[in-house]
């Protein structure tokens, strides 16, 4: 196969390298210079992202803003995640870390994605992380406890009500994220 000029033989990847990744629908993220490439999400994923972003937007106070991604969120030169949705200060420089990162995952990549994202965001002291299983469906909210480790603060499945307090009050049922469009709009 045609091997392209290698990016610095064997060295850890830097965030600048991500500009060279192909537009093939996959998600390219970096953790400490290790590259992680996840498969392109499907329709169910996009629908769940859309529905959740609507709910977040509808409840969003003026000082914050909801951005639908994948949104690059960098930590240093060698770590960059691309959450599906972020909530950040409306005023601050877009390069500042958000107050909430949301990842919508499918069943297949859940164990991997959940573990990596939660651990990186915990380490980087992000004030909030929501993990969404778009198949079950389920929404988990994580935030730092007194020792800085993430604690699961809300965990709702199906028709249970998900009631979040931070970054601002939001209520919704996970089932609404996946309901067919028919009869919904």
């Amino acid at each position: 196969m045609a091997v392209q000029p290698a990016i610095g033989f064997g060295r850890p990847f830097a965030r600048a390298d991500l500009a060279l990744t192909p537009r093939d629908g996959r998600r390219y993220e970096l953790v400490d210079g290790t590259l992680i490439v996840t498969p392109a999400p499907g329709r169910r994923h996009r629908r769940a992202v859309g529905r959740l972003a609507e709910a977040l937007h509808a409840a969003c106070p003026p000082e914050l803003t909801v951005v639908v991604g994948p949104v690059p969120v960098g930590f240093g030169e060698h770590t960059e995640l691309r959450p599906d949705i972020v909530v950040r200060s409306a005023e601050a420089d877009p390069a500042t870390a958000p107050v909430l990162a949301v990842e919508v995952m499918d069943r297949r990549t859940w164990p991997f994605d959940h573990e990596v994202k939660r651990a990186v965001l915990e380490r980087e002291r992000l004030p909030g992380f929501w993990a969404v299983d778009s198949e079950l469906p389920r929404i988990e909210a994580w935030e730092p406890g007194s020792d800085g480790r993430y604690v699961l603060t809300v965990d709702a499945t199906g028709d249970d009500e998900f009631v979040a307090v931070r970054p601002y009050p939001v209520r919704l049922r996970p089932a609404e994220l996946v309901r067919d469009d028919v009869g919904h709009e």
């Binding site: 091997v3 990016i7 033989f9 192909p22 392109a40 990549t109």
Partner: protein, 191 residues
Amino acid sequence: MSVAMPAQPAIGFGRPFTRADLDAMPDDGRRYELIDGVLVVSAAPGLRHQVAVVELSFLLRGACPPGFRVLVAPFAVVLADDTELQPDLLVARRTDLTERDLPRPPVLAVEVLSHSTRFIDRNVKRARFERAGVPTFWIVEPAANPAQARLEVWELTDAGRYRLAAEAVGEQSYRARTPYPVAVRPADLVR
């Protein structure tokens, strides 16, 4: 980037990777692994990492009973069609090995940490080896100062979860019983 440029031309737009895709990855010194269809590309290891790999493989090889083999990366451990890992070191039963790969869990997998892989090794690979039922997983922390080098031994419980079964630092000696008797002193791995 030729790396992770699984896309020149694109390998099946956006679909999960399979083991077959790994053959198309460039030979650029990096390690290409697949975990549940997610591609993980890590940097080439540095000197301290490689010294620890060689020292530990020497110890493991010296104590190895006839039924087992000690291998160092790159050698593929196939845990599923969409999961292929290359631990820094592994011990497998000879009868489990093929010429090309290890198509079932090893009896011991070892990861030697480096700056860019520490996080993935601890948080992702350990979890995947646990799920695959690899009975023993070792983590070696090859600190610059031998007194701070560390070995962590994770063993599967009856419930199928890893628990930290032992830990040795610097000159402390860990006497393994599984997969077979061998003594490891972390400081010796980095001198």
